[in-house]
Amino acid sequence: MTTTRIFVISEQLMFARGLESLLKQNTQLRLIGHETDVGVAGKRMKELQPDVVIVDSSRSSWDEDLELVQLLRARPNLKVIDVSLQNNNLYIYRATQKVVESVDDLIQAIG
């Protein structure tokens, strides 16, 4: 059974730690790293090669599309999920959007 390896990019440390605690409950998911800066995150992701990256773009002044496009160019098969902490929406990059009402919604998006 393969494990989905997840990388988190968020300025909120407690959010990342909480996410790690939640994902631990699912044995098929593993949080392999967390960074607060997209530039540093890009380098670590090249080393770690995650399957999924969860991004919180809400507190940053990112040019969101530019940063995410750069991530996708580096890893075309990488799934990017934006969990913007300003609302309860999950944005699965360039694909779909849904409202998150429970942790299961995130687990399904990752899967």
Partner: protein, 224 residues
């Protein structure tokens, strides 16, 4: 010892569930309820009667600052600690003025959060370091009048003034007891009397009042 019963109030589902998961990993703490805005927070608080509420500032329907005020009026014994991304001075001071016991930023490590929450049981007021610095900077800009100082000093006993001086440095009840060679219970009694006499709700408000009114010397700022 009974687990600390905590109500989580934050409009972001994943953040709230994450904190709940972290807290649930501890034997000495338990999450008794969750709410996504200030209106729901008041309802759930009345149902669950938590020991402590962790409250976000920015929420829809009713924000955290207003909710603190309402809860402290309706449930004065519940302790409320803000847990927020907002490092705005105005939010900090309004939260404290409305009755919040502490103010924490969401850039904490979980171990720091646990330590801060453990401190609640000891009567401490958890404040993220950067916010404590903002309080002291604000206090240093205040200049009390001599007549105000004399009036307030007359209200407190010499021992109470000594305890208040220690509170301003950020000392815990245990540290105050050791410094003044009294028991922790005695410190708590003095603290209760100080809060009553100064008409404030917690040690942070007492510290702010003490320096603003010139009851103590603000240059002794302890660890903050």
């Amino acid at each position: 010892m009974e687990p600390l019963r905590i109500l989580l109030v934050d409009d972001h589902v994943l953040f709230r569930k994450g904190i709940a998961s972290l807290i649930s990993s501890r034997q000495d703490m338990t999450v008794v309820g969750e709410a996504g805005d200030g209106v729901e927070a008041v309802r759930v608080a009345k149902e669950t009667v938590p020991d402590l509420i962790l409250m976000d500032v920015n929420m829809p329907n009713r924000g955290g600052l207003e909710t603190v005020k309402i809860l402290k009026q309706e449930m004065p014994d519940v302790e409320i600690v803000m847990l927020t991304v907002s490092d705005d001075d105005g939010d900090l001071f309004e939260a404290v003025k409305n009755g919040a016991k502490g103010y924490l930023l969401k850039n904490l490590e979980p171990q720091e959060l646990y330590k801060m929450l453990d401190g609640i049981r000891q009567g401490e007021s958890p404040i993220s370091g950067v916010m404590a610095t903002k309080i002291l900077q604000e206090l240093r800009q205040s200049e009390p009048s001599k007549s105000q100082k004399q009036q307030s000093v007359d209200e407190l006993t010499p021992r109470e003034v000594e305890v208040l001086e220690q509170i301003v440095t950020g000392a815990t009840n245990k540290e105050i007891a050791e410094t003044l060679h009294i028991t922790e219970n005695t410190v708590k009694i003095h603290l209760r009397n100080i809060l009553d006499k100064l008409h404030v709700q917690n040690r942070i408000q007492a510290a702010v009042h003490a320096v603003r009114e010139g009851l103590v010397d603000a240059s002794a700022d302890g660890d903050a």
